[in-house]
Symmetry: C2
């Protein structure tokens, strides 16, 4: 708060106004991070706990679908877990930004990690979405059949777990935007 005190002396009212706007942006940032944490954690848990056994088993195979039958879903769970872990770890920084609204270096650090995490989360979500689409529709040309015809509730569950991830993606774009606004208004 020392550096802040010196600058307040120079242009008190203007600075106070700017601080107020910055504080508002920082609080918004905090809320967005918290929502993102909940969305990605929910997504990871929903996917990781998915499995379905069909009520019949023929010959020597028991039909059972789990999320880790497809490596893409494993990646999805890991990506969501990493991002939600990152978001909970970034909350203290967000609190620092609320208290010290002139902080710059930590904001730039966060903007870098935020965009990297946006990349990771989008990668996980859209790769999983591509596979979910395939599971629903199959592909005639490649001779890949729609497994959703057998595993109904499994497919509904994995489709649903994508939602949290895509909400997380939108939240990250808003977080990066709010960081940009805060940086321009110090």
């Amino acid at each position: 708060m020392k550096g802040g005190g010196v600058e307040v002396g120079v242009a008190a009212k203007d600075s106070t106004q700017r601080n107020g706007v910055n504080r508002g942006v920082s609080i918004l940032d905090f809320i967005l991070r918290l929502l993102g944490f909940i969305a990605t954690l929910g997504s990871a848990i929903a996917m990781a706990t998915t499995n379905e056994s069909l009520p019949f088993f023929t010959r020597f195979i028991r039909f059972r679908a789990e999320y880790d039958d497809l490596p893409t879903f494993t990646f999805f769970v890991i990506a969501n877990a990493i991002v939600s872990g990152y978001l909970i770890l970034s909350l203290p920084f967000s609190i620092i930004h609320i208290v010290r609204s002139k902080a710059q270096k930590t904001r730039i650090l966060l903007i870098f990690f935020d965009s990297a995490m946006l990349g990771l989360l989008t990668a996980g979500a859209s790769a999983a979405a591509a596979i979910v689409y395939l599971a629903h529709k199959g592909n005639r040309k490649a001779n890949w059949f729609a497994i959703c015809q057998q595993f109904n509730s499994f497919c509904e569950r994995i489709s649903g777990s994508l939602i949290g991830s895509f909400i997380g993606v939108v939240l990250f774009i808003l977080i990066i935007l709010s960081s940009g606004v805060a940086l321009s208004r110090r």
Copy 2:
């Protein structure tokens, strides 16, 4: 340049230094956007021109693989085309930032669109990567066979076209970072 002139009068040397750094960052931003444009355009073209006919045809089917047999690859091409179009359209803004290094609003606008485009590009690239992985390895549990055993050069081509997209993703993260640095240093 009017507003800039007023501020130069207040703290001439400091401002000039800052302008210098900002100009450097803006030039870097321009170069990154140009590289990103080349990478994503190359990626889109490489994928869109991919097709392979097998040298034999049995019964009544001619074996032929094209990129738009799989909707994910169509999305990949569209996403890359949109992003490369956006990057070429954002170059004038980047030039404005080199000339007027105090510009803020356009930077915030760009930071928002940049992160949205990062999301779109990552989505396209990783969805395509998930399908390419499946084409290479197949999935025993879901009864999806590796089509790459038949379509060799097709698979090599689609794998290669992913590279440009992922380079584009990394470039976007650097572009967002450089925007953050420029905003903090006005």
